[in-house]
Symmetry: C2
Subunit: 209 residues, 2 copies
């Protein structure tokens, strides 16, 4: 494996109290795992935060996936938040199973020429070129895993590309459009939230009624 051991210098650590914000707006994520030296990677459209402190996230991982076998064996997974430049990568790793190559031959990182760096605590592969990353421990919840394919995880390390996520906030601007997140509509079509607006309080008419 050609992984880097250190956190790449251009990335910024994300305070754990802000980690859930990385997926607050519903982006598609990449789920990566490693078991006995064999890495895997898939796309997951279905995830959401469930808590800010401690940072906890729910993610849906189908029973048919090789990723799920690896998670069940290791109790860990990493989430990388891909960006516009990675739409093809995200679609591809969501279409192709890593099981065929499990334990022999090239893994999905190698097959598709993807770079990775290794998370410092849990030594999970994080995908280069993404805009947010989290290394996570799975909270054992056998029933929800079985009944809803839903895994609750706790984030123990988080990083971002500070050009698009800094001080606990996403900043989607015209000058960083290539780094905006992907939101899966279905069939490989992604929506990209380039436009933003600030909600304001409506006047309370209660006193008039």
């Amino acid at each position: 494996m050609s992984e880097l051991v250190a956190v790449p210098m251009h990335l910024a650590p994300v305070d754990l109290s802000h980690a859930s914000r990385l997926v607050n707006h519903g982006p598609t994520v990449l789920v990566s795992t490693v078991q006995a030296g064999h890495r895997n990677l898939m796309a997951a459209a279905w995830s959401m935060p469930v808590e800010f402190t401690p940072p906890r996230i729910a993610v849906v991982i189908d029973k048919s996936t090789f990723t799920r076998e690896q998670i069940r064996a290791t109790g860990t997974l990493a989430l990388s938040v891909p960006c516009r430049l990675q739409a093809d990568l995200t679609f591809t790793v969501g279409q192709v199973s890593g099981r065929d190559h499990a334990g022999e031959g090239p893994d999905k990182f190698e097959r598709y020429g993807l770079g990775a760096w290794t998370s410092p605590l849990l030594h999970l592969p994080l995908v280069e070129g993404c805009v947010g990353w989290m290394e996570c421990r799975v909270i054992e919840e056998a029933h929800t895993q079985d009944a809803y394919d839903t895994f609750f995880v706790e984030v123990v390390g988080a990083w971002s590309d500070p050009r698009v996520f800094a001080q606990g906030r996403w900043s989607f601007r015209d000058d960083n459009r290539d780094l905006h997140t992907l939101h899966h509509l279905g069939a490989g079509v992604f929506a990209i939230p380039s436009d933003t607006l600030q909600g304001r309080l409506l006047p309370d008419q209660g006193a008039l009624l």
Copy 2:
């Protein structure tokens, strides 16, 4: 209450096998409830599908909310998917508790001048002007409600505004920008996924390695 009983004529039923697509891309939703004639409404940034068939969704509802009291009492809730024109409405109902007015005085629909129609099966209030709607039964999962504030629900009826969601797909275009969904970044700032792109399969280099 000034609710309509029938489904508004300009809305389209969504096949239940496509209902989860309404929230596939991570929009903020409005959660509405009714108990003994008293309605309530809140915003929830955290939801995700967990299954297409049957259509099941997970949504996070904090213990402090009046909505949660109503859900626990009735076992039902409705989800409305708000659009760009409703950013202020969405921010406002997420900031203000309905508990103060519970059982007496105007509810949040009345206080903020919001129209509603009544879902045909469970008789829940659905918010006018939204772009997607689902009436849902809560699946009793006491542990995940307690430990993660996470409610798993099954969708039993779904509708969309066909100008932006038809044949099971969102279609975000320049001519329907006002109807695009809201994705909460934090502090009342919403991202809006107006731009879309189609992911394509990357070449598999596995054979070359």
